[in-house]
């Protein structure tokens, strides 16, 4: 009977009331001494409204006085200290649907309208089966399902699946000007998902999830994948996968809030930040992530359920990569000593440099096209697909 009662459903004011401006006034007002001005009006009722909160309202620290004290990532840190001007830090974190391995949105849908695609793991809402329960909205810990009050249905990121099927990356990654998004194939052991998601200690969730990822270069894994019907092209894409390298091989990328136990599949590389002044003088500090402006604890709360060790290592590797490349390029003599201290080899450093700094399109996105020829009668499909409520 619990499913008929869900007090956690959000109301629109917890987002913001959508609005527009009465732009037509700009051209319909007769000539006057003063410029006509536009006033905001609600997109729901059409009435003028006063704006109090809106999308990205708190960007660039603007709303931190309202939202900051509730930021769970300040756990074990004194939030007050970071309000001091010289200590303030910020960085951007784009939140996407994580297309989780253990998606809470799917599990919470009474109608069974949400599903995870077997072939590529994309999580979708079947718009024809969604009945507007909105339990996915309260179910997703990342708050990435939204209720459309006009259609009465929930909507979410669809990872640009028509593009992915065609071997292209999602548009958000394609158009990222910073070239910091990477998309690739990961082979994983689906039988171990339940064990990985139910690790007792929260900080074990991140390593457990990494263990799900299978090494695509291991001949045994390849043989097993092929025997289970994974197409050769998928295996090859997995071998060239930038995300496997970042997440599993190099340990640079981490899941966002693994303690939510949904096994999220969009991973983040923690940012380097300026070293704090007073330590900068010493030789030590140059390789010390503790001396960074963004507290390690904060990043660990964000990405590893509080375990600082993996984050420290990742940051050290990124710093070592910089030193190494500087020594190689500027000093004309490659200093592999810094690499060793961070547990890296020269080959690894070259690979990281190529993927992170050169960041060629073809290296960042390795996506196989869907093998439709095996599943459809292509001749019959020709001309039989189209758009519209009943087409396709």
């Amino acid at each position: 009977m619990k499913i008929f009662h869900n007090p956690d459903l959000p109301a629109i004011d917890e987002y913001y009331e959508p609005w527009t401006y009465n732009y037509e006034k700009l051209i319909s007002t007769p000539q006057k001494k003063h410029q006509p001005s536009t006033r905001p009006k609600s997109l729901i009722t059409g009435q003028p409204i006063r704006l109090k909160w809106g999308p990205n309202w708190e960007d660039d620290l603007a709303g931190v006085s309202t939202t900051g004290s509730g930021d769970v990532n300040f756990k074990n840190l004194d939030y007050q200290i970071y309000l001091q001007f010289k200590k303030v830090f910020m960085f951007y974190l784009p939140r996407l649907c994580e297309h989780c391995l253990n998606p809470a949105c799917v599990a919470s849908c009474p109608s069974g309208a949400l599903y995870k695609r077997d072939e590529d793991g994309i999580v979708l809402v079947d718009q024809e089966r969604c009945r507007g329960w909105r339990y996915c909205v309260s179910g997703c810990p990342y708050k990435k399902v939204y209720f459309n009050w006009q259609t009465g249905r929930s909507e979410k990121c669809l990872f640009c699946y028509p593009r992915v099927e065609a071997g292209l990356t999602s548009l958000c990654a394609e158009t990222c000007v910073g070239k910091i998004r990477y998309v690739g194939v990961i082979l994983y052991d689906a039988d171990k998902i339940a064990t990985a998601a139910s690790m007792k200690e929260e900080h074990k969730l991140y390593p457990a999830q990494t263990e799900l990822f299978l090494d695509p270069n291991d001949p045994e894994v390849v043989a097993e994948a092929i025997s289970q019907g994974v197409p050769q092209s998928y295996v090859e894409a997995a071998q060239a996968s930038p995300v496997y390298k970042l997440a599993a091989e190099w340990g640079l990328a981490f899941p966002l809030h693994p303690e939510f136990r949904t096994l999220p599949m969009v991973w983040y590389v923690p940012p380097l930040s300026p070293l704090v002044q007073f330590l900068e003088e010493s030789e030590e500090a140059v390789h010390n992530p503790e001396a960074m402006r963004i507290p390690l604890t904060y990043l660990a709360n964000l990405l590893t359920a509080g375990d600082e060790e993996p984050i420290r290592l990742a940051l050290r590797r990124l710093m070592a990569l910089r030193s190494y490349m500087r020594s190689k390029r500027l000093e004309g003599e490659a200093d592999s000593g810094v690499l060793e201290k961070a547990g890296m080899t020269e080959e690894m450093a070259e690979g990281m440099y190529r993927l992170l700094a050169i960041a060629k399109y073809g290296d960042r996105f390795v996506i196989p096209t869907v093998k439709k020829e095996k599943e459809f009668d292509l001749y019959q499909e020709q001309g039989a697909a189209g758009f519209g409520p009943h087409g396709a």
Binding site: I3, L9, P10, A11, I12, I44, T45, G46, Q47, N102, P103, V106, A107, C109, P110, S111, G112, L114, Y115, K116, R117, D118, E119, Q127, E128, R129, C130, R131, G132, W133, R134, F147, W149, Q150, T151, G152, R153, V370, E375, F376, D377, Q380, E381, P389, H390
Partner: protein, 227 residues
């Protein structure tokens, strides 16, 4: 009179029921995208809480009560040791409670539709007709329960067998001849509501998530092979 009676209690019921069945099938098959409860909780949560809860509990138990009381012939109840007097007594008191809950709930819902700006702006004519018809149905039903307290009428041997006759395709309009007007109005209103419901948000009734109890938690789908 008898012609009118036949029209009202044989022809009209079948028209309404046909619209009901065909309408649901048509809508579900041709436009599944439209099949929805049109939740408005996002726009106004507080106003919904009490109204929607007591209305749903009231109306669902009212429906169950109607099913048990009208569709199961009295002789089965007799066999269980519940004679028609006890049956009527129980029906009256339980009907009073659930009817009052549903009626009050509906009143709150209608009030909410009108009084909240956001809700009023997103309410369609269809929503008003649905709520209005429901209100009329529940109000007349409730009035019948109340008036039954003072002026007993034997439903179990008139309306109940007539209804079973309709459903078993052996209609007998003569059973309805002596039924007081207040019951006739309720019945005709219900039939109208049934005929209208496939075209309203009431279709959500048929999507009770029973399968949720049995399905596995994470739903996977594989691309369908279409040949």
């Amino acid at each position: 009179m008898s012609v009118l009676n036949t029209l009202a209690f044989v022809v009209f019921p079948y028209l309404a029921l046909t619209t009901f069945v065909v309408g649901h099938l048509y809508r579900y098959l041709t436009n599944p995208y439209d099949w929805n409860s049109k939740s408005s909780e996002l726009l106004d949560k507080e106003g919904l809480k009490i109204g929607i809860t007591i209305f749903h509990w009231g109306i669902i138990f009212a429906l169950l009560g109607h099913g048990a009381g009208l569709l199961i012939p009295q002789r089965y109840w007799d066999a269980l040791g519940i004679n028609s007097q006890a049956h009527t007594l129980f029906a009256t008191y339980s009907g009073f409670v659930v009817g009052a809950a549903a009626l009050l709930g509906l009143a709150l819902l209608i009030y909410r539709r009108i009084s909240k700006d956001r809700i009023l702006a997103t309410t369609t004519l269809n929503d008003f007709v649905t709520l209005g018809l429901l209100f009329f149905v529940v109000a007349t039903g409730f009035a019948n329960v109340v008036s039954g307290l003072f002026d007993h009428f034997d439903i179990l041997n008139t309306i109940a067998p007539w209804l079973r006759g309709i459903l078993t395709l052996t209609p007998d309009a003569s059973l309805m001849l002596k039924v007081p007007l207040r019951f006739k109005i309720h019945i005709l209103a219900v039939l109208t509501l049934l005929g209208f419901s496939p075209f309203s948000r009431l279709v959500h009734i048929w999507s009770v998530p029973l399968t949720y109890l049995f399905r596995r938690l994470i739903v996977f789908r594989r691309r369908e092979v279409s040949l």
